[in-house]
Symmetry: none
């Protein structure tokens, strides 16, 4: 794999573990086994590196969401949304990626609403079809809950994401 990729991988891991500000470019270079200067040659500056990582991530997220957005069965839309959380745990790298997303949200105070919009619309439609009185609100409610679950999952070691997802699943099956 190319050195540029090594940098991206190391940076993702370090940003996710220690935060953007707290991770120095020299630490990234060290961990990637490249010279510090190479980071700047490839990404212009530290922010450029972050942006490259986030852009890569947006693509991944789009793919993940696409599966939900194009689902027509409302029950399946909800089910697939619930499964999203469990996908966080698929691999160390995927988990790092999502952890970074949340960490960055807090560090830079950008919520990135537009990224979630298609998902919210899909959920709103699903709840509408299922006869919910306030489908838009319920969609927001579920997504907010999932933000909470992510918070717990990444920050509270004792949190059991699977069990909690199961409980939520039951609620929506009533």
């Amino acid at each position: 794999m190319s050195k540029k990729n090594d940098i991206l991988k190391s940076a993702l891991k370090l940003f996710a573990d220690e935060g953007f500000s707290a991770t120095s470019t020299s630490k990234i270079a060290n961990s990637a086994g490249v010279s510090e200067a190479l980071i700047f040659r490839h990404f212009k500056n530290k922010n450029g590196l972050l942006e490259a990582i986030l852009k890569e991530g947006e693509e991944k997220a789009r793919l993940l969401f696409a599966d939900i957005v194009f689902e027509t069965n409302p029950l399946k839309v909800i089910e697939k949304t619930l499964e999203l959380g469990e996908k966080f745990m698929a691999s160390k790298e995927v988990a790092d990626f999502w952890k970074l997303q949340y960490k960055i949200k807090w560090e830079l105070e950008q919520y990135g609403e537009q990224k979630m919009e298609p998902l919210e619309i899909a959920l709103t439609n699903a709840f509408k079809k299922l006869g919910y009185e306030e489908p838009k609100r319920e969609a927001c409610y579920l997504l907010t809950l999932m933000d909470g679950m992510a918070t717990r999952f990444f920050l509270q070691k004792s949190y059991d994401l699977k069990l909690e997802t199961e409980y939520l699943r039951k609620k929506y099956k009533q």
Copy 2:
């Protein structure tokens, strides 16, 4: 007000707005209108300053939680928990304090579970009294949801905390 307090206030605001790592002691000193050295005289080092802020905060949180913990009417326990969120917005300083709590959680990856334990126990008891099948799980569920609501409130400008709380309230009244 004392200079020590000026420092605490400025640091709270800056840590909450820009994060701990990204806030330099010189910025704090500047914003507080004191010399940088005074920070170190009062708090030993930058970490000491953070700890002082967090300790101050724990007290405030304890007070806030006490009201809920000693409540015996289960419906009121839930209602008061829901009201907690709206208290975030009471004043700029209170909001900053809570924002900092969340920011620090993500920056230092300490969830501080023990702080929330009394609240979780109180909620568990309340749900038990109300005949919920899995009261402990429901308590965790509600607190997780509130973490999500906090995330949205602090990071997503368009989020309407009052409306969402209202929706949640209705759910628990069914």
Copy 3:
């Protein structure tokens, strides 16, 4: 003498000898026997250091020019202007200061016309009193010549400023 002054002195010497761009802040710190950080504490950045030196210089120049500007005898105005050149050589530090002025002019392409204006006006008046047909032009001519003499004096080792000044003096006595 204060460390701040040591920095100014070292910087003046180095900027004058090697140019602004080619002189690193670490070289200045070394030569002044202080930490590099102190430069930034006192002058904000490398440009601030240059500005401080130039501002100090403007004062010196103003004093030097004042003597000429308030002279009423036209012959003496010219004589004192001619003497200006010889004052470049008064001491190593004064010479460094004037060398820096010229070096900076070329490096940053700022001529600083307004600094010379009072002198040009004084000379124009002197030549008018002496009956020159184009006094303003003659003033400009003399000052331009002195720029040339400075160029030679600072850059051409074999240039004998005293002899050349003597020759010029004769010209104006005709």
Copy 4:
């Protein structure tokens, strides 16, 4: 035109505008539309590039001076010398070349006396023929003046080289 020439042209412009130290090889490569490595292939290093530019320039200067040096009519020698200044303005590229000459003089503190010697000798002879008492001094005087005029022309936007040359011409016609 060859890429080697593109580099020379861009470097001349940039060195003349921003100085040698302040111009990075990457800026030159960028502005010339070539890779940075090509500069080093053609000129070994940054200094080699400067030397190539200066050598190219020496040739141009030699040609310019030759016309004066081989002139036998003393009045024409003076007239042609005066015209030299106006030739600075012939084209942007010629002006850049002369600006660079002066800039480099100041940046590297090399006056390059030997380049001017033939001109000085020619002028000395001319003034001798015209009966000046100190012909060598007068030659030096005129050349110094022209250095002053160059300084003004390149650094002082409001300087009117043509008018000043005209004034000088009158002086020598008296």
